[in-house]
């Protein structure tokens, strides 16, 4: 009888632990965990300047609300797809009358000079308003990647693999949401609820 009680107690504790470890069964991957975590506890974004493709310096954290995604322009695959998705997102937001700056931020500022950024933007119809490509300073990169939980690992072909998402920065300059690049409606409602 005591044994049954102990086992039941352990089972309850075990379920609670697993519930905790998966954020209520919502996140089994690190990417999922990031999305749950920032939605619950928005994180302050470091107030560091980034250089846009036109050569201006802006501080995204002071320019919120804003949308950001991390790319590198020599990326042959996923950044090009996410660039296309970002263009569709821009069209939808503009059509909805939402005016929010969008940044494609390079995590490879050493190779991505302004010309490379302009080419990438041109390829995806980013005109600089509301969507521009930009790059941080080399020394700020690590802090930005840590804040946004972006993991970049070199692949075997001279490029990188990295977790891709559309990142939402709210009016207080806090990282408050991470979404699939095609979750347009979800992103739109996040922007709308932030604007009101």
């Amino acid at each position: 009888m005591r044994g049954v009680l102990y086992t039941l107690g352990a089972a309850l504790l075990g379920c609670a632990t697993l519930w905790q470890a998966t954020d209520g069964l919502r996140a089994v991957t690190a990417e999922g965990a990031r999305r749950v975590s920032v939605a619950r506890n928005p994180r302050p974004v470091p107030a560091v300047p980034v250089q846009t493709m036109q050569g201006d310096w802006v501080t995204i954290a002071e320019n919120g609300p804003a949308l950001v995604e991390f790319i590198y322009t020599t990326c042959p695959t996923i950044c090009q797809i996410s660039g296309g998705d970002f263009a569709e997102l821009r069209d939808q937001l503009v059509d909805a009358g939402l005016d929010i700056p969008m940044y494609s931020l390079s995590f490879d500022p050493e190779n991505d000079d302004l010309e490379a950024l302009l080419n990438y933007a041109d390829l995806h119809s980013a005109t600089g308003d509301p969507w521009t490509a930009a790059r941080p300073r080399e020394e700020d990169l690590k802090g930005l990647l840590r804040t946004f939980d972006v993991t970049v690992i070199p692949d075997n072909w001279g490029g990188y693999e990295h977790n891709v998402a559309v990142l939402y920065i709210n009016a207080e300059g806090k990282f408050a949401g991470a979404f699939d690049t095609r979750a347009f409606d979800q992103i739109q409602s996040a922007v709308e609820s932030g604007a009101s």
Binding site: T17, L18, V28, A30, G32, A33, E161
Partner: protein
């Protein structure tokens, strides 16, 4: 003494494997983590007699810790944060391998069979997931390596099937059946 040595050797090998875990999920998941579990399983502490009423609770502890270390986010955490790193080296030997060894001999054949089947089907499930997932499951690993890990899971499942099937066909159970048959026929006399 012997078991201390073997346990320490498994731990040392697991520490050595650390050199490769950041680059290769197969080493991480199918070499280092099993070595840590073996380290705990071999600890001489495993000879402690667990009170009968605690067996279920201890088994659940092992299963929960095992389940947590099957979550892709735990692997990422072990690579990215130092807390995750330390947790891996502490919890897998002490809260997975050791408790499993403590209760294993107290478990009935049905529970044992259930746990073995569950391990095999879970490995096959993970194998399917890692070879077919359209996205990267771990931020720290490349897609190609993820597929390789999937194949590794499937091979591990196959290895366990073979390992656990041999005794079924080998002598002990046959002898048992014969013995029972003998008794049975004896009663009929």
């Amino acid at each position: 003494m012997m078991r201390w040595g073997l346990s320490a050797a498994a731990f040392a090998l697991a520490c050595g494997a650390q050199l490769w875990v950041a680059a290769d999920p197969v080493i991480h998941m199918l070499v280092q983590i099993p070595l840590l579990a073996i380290c705990g399983w071999l600890l001489p502490l495993a000879r402690w007699e667990v009170p009968k009423e605690a067996v279920g609770a201890v088994l659940i502890l092992a299963l929960v810790v095992g389940a947590i270390w099957m979550l892709p986010r735990s692997l990422d955490a072990a690579l990215i944060t130092w807390q995750g790193h330390v947790a891996k080296f502490v919890t897998i030997p002490l809260f997975f391998g050791l408790p499993l060894a403590l209760v294993w001999r107290h478990l009935g054949p049905i529970i044992k069979g259930f746990l073995k089947c569950q391990s095999i089907s879970m490995l096959l499930f993970l194998g399917f997931l890692y070879t077919h997932a359209p996205v990267r499951i771990c931020n720290s690993y490349l897609v190609d390596d993820q597929v390789r890990l999937g194949h590794g899971f499937a091979l591990a499942a196959l290895a366990l099937v073979i390992l656990w099937l041999i005794p079924v066909f080998a002598s002990p159970s046959n002898r048992e059946t014969k013995g029972k048959f003998h008794e049975f026929s004896h009663i009929r006399h």
